[in-house]
Symmetry: C2
Subunit: 255 residues, 2 copies
DNA sequence: CGGACTGTTGATAGGCTTCAACCGACGTGG
DNA sequence: CCACGTCGGTTGAAGCCTATCAACAGTCCG
């Protein structure tokens, strides 16, 4: 089933890298965290980590590959809630529930690590720093959700698509370091439609419209944004909610 | 500025009541929590607690009166993100940011208590139980946000309105104990429009349509739902995300 | 009683959906 | 290596839901 390599290099771990973005970790915190990423298992594109209404006793950490969470509605449509990238914790939102409220599915082949809920309680009890970071992560997730909510409720198709591409661009830049004028986007237009609350047909039309205006170019599974500022203007994109604009975690502590 | 009555009856405190819904609190936890609700100040309908882009160094607890948070968009529209009821913590979402990402405004006259961010760190360090509850609250807030996101993205006006009314009904039932066939709803149709991503005109039409079908009745500032199940069916309302369906907080701990 | 604000109703318009046909890329098997 | 089936994407036509504009009615409060 897998390869429990307990003595993995802390700097290799993408969850450690992820947390390190918020605050520099001590060696002890790193090893506490790495326990969450023990015993990873490979998983194929298109398969589900779990489905709505399944029992929920575990979280999951994404080591490799993209995934998304979704809800299916009574009217037959599907709403995609999040896109998960390597390093993300999947299922944090359901911490307080015993049932899955959303399904999660792999976009492409990848590798994941399950760990039980109680590991989070361990963290609360053992590491003040990790607890604070987890809270910051939850805080940021909420902020990103509200940004998407605004995007879905208030913008037209052009802006929705532009906004989403900019968000992905930023997230990829964060995890991979370099720029994002061109990046890989392994999502079908059907997935984009379910994510943006549009029909696949209209996603296609919107893509070509944006291309004709020179705001984006795409081929195969990659997108290039020739002029970031122009696209941000088009989308009404506001980067206040991004990680660069978060406050230093313990700023308010000693005053 | 106001009346710091430090020796307030713990059972009077609406924030204690709020937390108690998640897990029974020890006396020590109660007093830790009540410090968050010290020195409340009255505040009038229509005034802002803060606005977008203000510096964020404090949270706020709502003791009396309704409030809502909102974002204003470049295109002149406004999206309302949350409705806050007495007992709610306002601004939790911005824990990790130094700027306000949304404004907050009172719907009616009320009473609020500010407290600095560092009080949360105190809680992380001093009370494992309160930390876990805070995490459960954050978890639940996220789940409610995703529910609203789905509502905004995937449902028509009838369902949006019906769904919102059901959500408020449940929340009021939680905080006030008794049923919710009839409840007070001090929100104008303009506010509802900004909340549901509709125009005020269409909110009006949708209200009358639902009334004509006997699904809701309204007068002045109150709504009555004659047949809860019928309305739930109409809205595609699924109560898995409600507090009753959360898991016992420490269930996963000792196995 | 007057004025402001909130809600109602009608007419028109636009953005997006749906349906349907078609195209192209890709992978499989003969 | 080519034929073929499938899946993802494109394009056109028609229709629906909701927005917008505008006029009017009702309510509240000074």
């Amino acid at each position: 089933m897998h390869t429990g390599e307990g003595s993995m290099d802390p700097d290799e771990s993408c969850i450690v890298r992820h947390f390190n973005q918020y605050y520099p970790l001590s060696a002890e915190d790193k090893s506490l965290l790495i326990r969450l990423e023990d015993s990873s298992t490979p998983i194929r594109a298109g398969t589900s980590l779990w489905e709505e209404r399944d029992q929920a006793q575990e979280f999951c950490t994404l080591k490799r590959g993209w995934a998304f969470s979704y809800r299916e509605l009574e009217n037959g449509t599907r709403q995609i809630l999040d896109i998960y990238l390597p390093g993300d914790i999947v299922g944090l939102r359901e911490f307080a529930f015993s049932q899955r409220l959303a399904g999660v599915q792999m976009v492409e082949d990848g590798e994941i690590c399950f760990f039980p809920h109680r590991n989070l309680f361990d963290i609360f009890q053992r590491s003040f720093t990790l607890t604070s970071i987890l809270f910051a992560i939850a805080s940021r997730q909420q902020v990103m959700l509200t940004e998407r909510l605004v995007n879905l409720a208030r913008r037209n198709a052009r802006q929705k698509l532009a906004h989403f591409l900019l968000e992905m661009c930023q997230r990829i830049k964060q995890t991979q370091g370099d720029g994002c004028e061109i990046f890989r986007l392994p999502l079908s237009q059907e997935v984009l439609a379910d994510l943006l609350g549009l029909s696949p047909v209209h996603v296609s039309r919107t893509f070509t419209a944006l291309s004709e205006d020179g705001l984006i170019f795409r081929e195969r599974h990659s997108v290039t944004i020739p002029d970031l500022e122009a696209l941000k203007h088009e989308a009404g994109f506001d980067d206040r909610y991004l990680i660069e604009n978060m406050r230093p975690l313990f700023e308010g502590m000693n005053d």
